[in-house]
Symmetry: C2
Subunit: 341 residues, 2 copies
């Protein structure tokens, strides 16, 4: 290509689009589906249940410690499938490029998408590229949708939490949010905070192998809105209360530090490689054993339990604080940190 930036022509659907796709994507993501360049991929399926999900990624900046918009888009959609216990079968990728995007940046993102797909063992089966004029987008937005096979007999869902269940989180919370925050503000804290962006399907399947699946109520990944928001969603869907212990929630010291400095609460920061597991009490140790055996789960912790609705008669999430108090953890209402994913 003569120029070193994306032009409107590259979104024409004609020759320029074809060249852009061939040069940046087909060379890296080549598979039987994509190489056919048809309007849709045709994927063989077995009888059963299919998880189907979509997410758009608009993170700013597009490169951050621990990842970039490309790997994030792959991991995020794999994780949405994994939260239903599904093994990812195929992803789609819809790119919206801003005119003027440097080819070098596009290349870096394409490479990262490719690496993330290889590491997770999943293929991009369908793709689409659009270009919008300078000032009508922001470098690159990526939509990834995905399909995955749900194991037979597995019925998970945010509505399945029951009083007495145990609430587990698979590791340190707030890393992704803190990484974006510090990358964006150019804050330096001695130690660089890295995003936790990672695919969780292997972790979920390890848990399902170890623990009888009817004892697992749900998996949920606390992305936008953080742990606090996800716990509230579970409480509302299941019409229960949830009680957590502040001291039990794993938070890195650096993340606590950034939060204190900026007046943020790590419970509301996004995570991109963590999940919440709600499990019947008697089987919670099996889940902890499975998690502890994995790199992605080695800082897993029991953080609380599910309770009956209390005197107020509505779902509430409460936290027993380090200093012996108790406070209500509400859902995120505003936006402390736009464009986190």
């Amino acid at each position: 290509m003569k120029d070193d930036r994306v032009l409107l022509d590259h979104g024409s659907g004609g020759l320029a689009t074809k060249r852009l796709i061939e040069e940046f994507f087909l060379s890296r993501l080549a598979n039987d589906y994509l190489s056919r360049l048809e309007d849709s991929a045709v994927v063989p399926v077995q009888e059963g249940r299919l998880a189907f999900t979509t997410d758009s990624y608009v993170v700013d900046p597009i490169f951050f410690p621990g990842g970039d918009i490309g790997s994030l888009a792959v991991h995020g959609t794999i994780n949405d499938l994994a939260m239903q216990g599904a093994a990812p079968m195929a992803l789609s990728m819809g790119l919206i490029l801003e005119e003027g995007l440097m080819f070098s940046e596009l290349e870096r993102v394409a490479e990262s998408i490719s690496q993330a797909c290889i590491e997770a063992g999943v293929a991009i089966a369908a793709a689409d590229t659009k270009v919008v004029p300078l000032g009508k987008g922001d470098k690159i937005f990526i939509n990834t949708s995905g399909i995955g096979r749900v194991p037979k007999g597995l019925y998970l869902g945010a509505h399945r939490a029951r009083p007495g269940d145990v609430v587990i989180v698979s590791g340190f919370v707030g890393d992704h949010g803190a990484a974006i925050l510090t990358a964006r503000s150019n804050l330096s804290f001695g130690t660089e905070i890295k995003s936790d962006s990672a695919p969780l399907h292997a972790l979920v399947s390890a848990v399902l192998e170890r623990c009888p699946s009817d004892k697992i109520r749900l998996f949920r990944d606390p992305t936008r809105g953080g742990l606090a928001t996800v716990l509230n969603e579970i409480a509302m869907s299941s019409n229960v209360c949830i009680e957590i212990d502040q001291d039990a929630v794993p938070i890195r010291q650096e993340v606590s530090g950034v939060c204190e400095l900026l007046g943020l609460d790590p419970l509301y920061l996004a995570n991109e490689g963590k999940c919440v597991v709600v499990v019947e009490e008697d089987h919670s140790q099996l889940v902890m054993d499975a998690l502890s055996g994995l790199a992605l789960g080695r800082h897993a912790a029991v953080i609380g339990c599910v309770k009956e609705l209390g005197g107020v008669g509505r779902p509430v999430v409460t936290m027993n604080t380090s200093i012996g108090g108790r406070r209500i953890i509400s859902m995120l209402s505003g936006e402390p940190l736009p464009r986190i994913c």
Copy 2:
């Protein structure tokens, strides 16, 4: 909501997002999948083959004669599935909203998505909403992905055209492109040109009912890049030449008029409710019969045929012109009309 515009808060993933989704989308698109508000939908599937596709829509303006970005996003993805002969099972919807978008506009788009889904008999099973700051997007971008069931024994593809096959187009070409063009430039030609945006799955299935499916080589919808680009893609994939007759290509007089005035070629204008069918010669009348019986296919026409590679030894699309000449129809290279879909 207090304000009448989209705010960054609406993309937080917290309470504001929940309210936006409930007010604008859940009320209109309610179905068992969406109402669960899980990270992915779980869809039952039978053993077989699944078509899986994605497309992002960035059309400007978002409202145009004959449709808007919402109906276009539904139709476009249904059509990508339909081109594989697939009946749409479920769609996903990823919205990227620009801060400051009027709620009234969002409401109109949501209503249009809902209507298009009802008319096509397909549900939005998974959705996601992001908000980007003012000036980092353009009102609304929509990604729709979709899954659909491919009938047993049906193998279509752009690589299947054979010399001797007949090339059919299902109706007037260039309407969508011309509609966007006139809407954008505020040109008036007495008659308003409307986009042809429409779902094609019923048309495709009518053709497949009438004509033995092993005689149909492929369906393809000439969207970005128009008829000319799609014919070139087919010729290249199948390694054949294609010859069409200018007089046979159905083009509305108003569309020809706009094209003449602006120096554009209608063969390169986008269509959003048309398809190209390549069929074995002996069965082409069956396809024409099926098309003619439908409102969406009543202006269908045989426009040409597939030929062996000629003296040049490479795939070429040629057109016999009205004045008795012959010219090469190349692929669209540049972008005469950015953001057409």
